[in-house]
């Protein structure tokens, strides 16, 4: 069987796996953004917490993804078999790029601009929302973009713990020693990553141009 005939005969199954995959990534990225962006804002003024949280996020990123999925299975509430565990692992992976870029973005602003903001009588909240965040947005978005591309790739391994997604085909193909089946999972996953990257690059470009 050629990859193309496999693709055509299984297109509805591939399509629904793609939808599952996108779902995993979207949920994981939303949670990671909601955690990492505020945390990045919070650690700007707190050096001890900054070292700790960036350290933890870096360590998490060094754990091989398959092992991380394995470690999480026995943990109560967040563990077990299925998408929930997968999402937890994906969130942990996505934290570092978003956290680091949020911190870097917020702290790499021209000191003269921050001095002027303070001297003009802006409150700390106004400085954060009207100066720091808008100026850091491009860099934060670049972090989100990196995290998204990583998450789309790592999410293929989520199939190993029964979370579904395009990894299902890859694992099945490995077991069957069939390139056609592996490609049915790998090609859509790669395309998703490329599309997400292009889309977020476009958004980032628009924002920076403003």
């Amino acid at each position: 069987m050629t990859p193309w005939t496999f693709f055509v005969t299984h297109r509805s199954e591939i399509w629904s796996a793609t939808i599952d995959h996108v779902g995993l990534v979207l949920i994981a990225m939303s949670i990671a953004i909601v955690i990492a962006v505020p945390l990045g804002m919070f650690i700007v003024q707190r050096p001890a917490l900054r070292t700790f949280s960036l350290g933890v996020a870096s360590v998490l990123q060094t754990i091989p993804s398959l092992a991380l999925f394995g470690f999480l299975i026995p943990i109560p509430f967040i563990g077990g078999i299925g998408p929930r565990t997968a999402i937890v692992a994906l969130v942990l992976y996505a934290l570092l790029p978003i956290l680091r870029n949020t911190y870097v973005g917020l702290t790499s602003i021209d000191p003269a601009v921050l001095e002027a903001a303070e001297a003009m009588g802006m409150t700390n909240t106004q400085i954060l929302t009207r100066v720091r965040l808008p100026l850091a947005l491009g860099i934060i978005l670049a972090g989100i973009r990196t995290a998204t591309v990583i998450t789309i790739g790592v999410a293929t391994i989520a199939a190993a713990i029964g979370a579904g997604g395009l990894g299902t085909f890859i694992f099945r193909g490995v077991a069957m020693v069939s390139d056609a089946v592996i490609l049915a999972g790998a090609v859509p996953a790669a395309l998703l990553a490329i599309l997400a990257d292009l889309f977020l690059a476009l958004v980032e470009h628009r924002l920076r141009a403003q």
Partner: protein
């Protein structure tokens, strides 16, 4: 009044006592590290004195609400420190906008200020700081400092980063502007020529202390080594007729 920082043996400002008269242009002159910028930041309570007090309009700065005090005092810094994501109009109208002026009044005020600093509002209001020359940016910085029509204006080496030709143009224009506006101005510089041109009174700082003060006419006659050191910086280049 003294201002010191923990872990440093010598205070940045040491038992300093001075007053600024209404509507005068007081120039704080001194080398880098003499404490002139620190002194400026003590006036709008970006810093609070370690001992003694700074009184603005009859009230100690620590009794002022810091945000209110800062909106009440114009501030202009080197390199302008304009907000790169705001248009020129948004930069100039910032303090009025923070103080919730009516938008039509802000627009009118912005246009008026741009004309005051010699920029045509039609041409410049909607530009971003990146689309301006250094001199134009500094003009916008001055306009922004005057935004809410403060009676006090603090200026920290506002023309320091400009090329010498543009700098002297802006100095001359600003000197005329300052006289016309009748603001109380405290101006920080390390350039004696600038001090002589703009000041109604010059205060020379060294190591956080006042070592000399006087009008531009009196200043060069003061017998103090630091005054002589600054005066030497005015000497023409040997062999080139002045």
């Amino acid at each position: 009044m003294t201002y010191s920082v923990k872990g440093r043996s010598a205070p940045l400002i040491s038992q300093l006592s001075m007053s600024v008269n209404s509507r005068e242009t007081l120039v704080l002159l001194g080398r880098s590290g003499s404490g002139k910028t620190t002194l400026l930041r003590l006036i709008n309570r970006m810093l609070a004195p370690s001992s003694g007090e700074v009184v603005v309009e009859g009230k100690s700065t620590v009794d002022w609400d810091a945000i209110r005090l800062r909106r009440h005092i114009g501030y202009v810094i080197q390199e302008a420190g304009l907000f790169p994501h705001f248009t020129v109009a948004e930069n100039v109208g910032l303090v009025p906008q923070l103080d919730k002026w009516d938008p039509a009044r802000i627009a009118q005020r912005t246009d008026e200020l741009l004309r005051i600093v010699g920029l045509d509002p039609k041409e410049f209001a909607q530009r971003r700081p990146a689309q301006l020359s250094g001199g134009q940016r500094q003009r916008v910085g001055v306009a922004r400092g005057l935004g809410a029509d403060p009676s006090i204006l603090l200026m920290d080496e506002p023309f320091g980063a400009l090329d010498p030709v543009t700098r002297s143009e802006l100095q001359r224009e600003f000197s005329a502007l300052a006289r016309r506006l009748g603001k109380t101005i405290v101006f920080v510089t390390h350039d004696l020529r600038e001090a002589l041109l703009l000041a109604s009174r010059i205060v020379l700082l060294q190591n956080g202390r006042i070592v000399a003060s006087g009008t531009p006419q009196e200043f060069l006659r003061i017998d103090h080594p630091e005054v002589k050191a600054f005066a030497a910086s005015l000497q023409p280049v040997p062999g080139v007729p002045a």
